[in-house]
């Protein structure tokens, strides 16, 4: 579990301002309006959240569950949101803690409880044509890169995802993961060096 980290003051981003507005609406008892505004916040963070959660869970159903839970938790605790903390960081911390909890519970379940039969899972609809993402992953270059990313230690992979994919600064990642910023940079450097070593001779 990630320990809470002290956050330096940051300029208020549009998302933080929206979160503060939602908090005010909830405090004023206007929950319906708050939910409507919250939908905008969900739309703004959803994709980034799924990308981060995927690096922890590697299972689309678990990712879906973790992302949904994180948003529901955020709304339930919106009144405790502190405006001086960037909303992105607060949300990511909740998401990451949720992913870690889910992974722990999944490993317990695997050990002690009979898994749900595969037949009970809803079938995945087949896309009529492969999407650009699927084509990228299926290409030779995409497979090589994915293979190299898989070889990264988890912490490096997650820091890399947060910085390069979710576009967080190293300072935001350090707050979200409860690590020192220098440590985040070390993980990021190592991840990139390893990726370069694995991929550069291919290029």
């Amino acid at each position: 579990m990630i320990a809470p980290a002290t956050a330096p003051p940051a300029p208020v981003s549009p998302n933080s301002a929206l979160a503060a507005e939602i908090k005010a609406l909830v405090l004023a008892g206007r929950r319906d309006s708050a939910r409507e505004r919250f939908a905008e916040l969900v739309a703004a963070h959803q994709r980034r959240a799924t990308r981060i959660a995927y690096q922890y869970l590697r299972d689309v159903h678990d990712v879906d569950e973790a992302v949904q839970d994180a948003f529901v938790k955020v709304f339930a605790h919106i009144t405790s949101y502190r405006e001086e903390l960037p909303f992105d960081v607060w949300f990511t911390r909740i998401l990451v803690n949720g992913c870690l909890d889910l992974r722990k519970s999944r490993s317990r379940r695997l050990r002690w409880v009979l898994p749900t039969p595969v037949d009970a899972q809803p079938p995945e609809p087949v896309a009529p044509q492969p999407s650009p993402e699927e084509r990228l992953l299926a290409s030779e270059c995409g497979r090589k890169i994915a293979g190299a990313v898989e070889q990264l230690p988890e912490r490096q992979r997650i820091v890399f995802t947060m910085c390069q994919v979710a576009e967080h600064t190293t300072s935001e990642v350090s707050q979200a993961l409860g690590l020192r910023e220098a440590t985040v940079r070390v993980h990021l450097f190592r991840a990139i060096r390893k990726l370069r070593a694995l991929l550069e001779h291919e290029r």
């Binding site: 919250f38 969900v42 990308r51 990313v149 890399f160 190293t170």
Partner: protein
Amino acid sequence: MTKDRTHLSDDRLLDVSLDGACGGSESSTAPTASEMQHLADCPACEARRSRLAGLLADAGGVVAAQADAYFTADRLAKQRAHILERLEHEARHGRVITFPAAHGQPPALRGRPGTRWIAAAAAAGLLIGFVAEHVAHRFPGGPSAIALVDADPDALQLVAAPLSEEEFLGRMELAVEGTAGSALRPLDELTPRVWEVAAQTR
């Protein structure tokens, strides 16, 4: 020769690329004016930087595509709808005023059919507790009374209190990892797991 000496090292090149990509322009590792000038003047360093930037973009693109391939715009819309449904559902539940406050929390086992057996075990434990108490009162000097007095209060709580599935599994793991569990570990290793049995019977 002078120019060669001022080539950016690999680490500095990484710093420069990351400071551009991660928005850390105010960090202590941000490129200096002379380094930026060198990058502008030196085609070799600029080529190295653009190669590195390409690698970062490609790797980032693949990492993003791993999740995006499944979470298409349609699925994200469905996910958003689920989230909003859940919020609405919880808001409706929130209007119910429970009394007394201590019993106001929703039962942990609600809505999980797979955990009914835990509720049954808890109920059976409670029943055993009542019977044991009855026997203890009937034979105050008997061994049952001693057993009850000596019993670990945590164990009694485990039987009597309704636990969520997570708490129950957590306690099982703690018990297995504890010192008392070490003697039973060889037996545990011999015991097939539920999923192993399930896989064999399929």
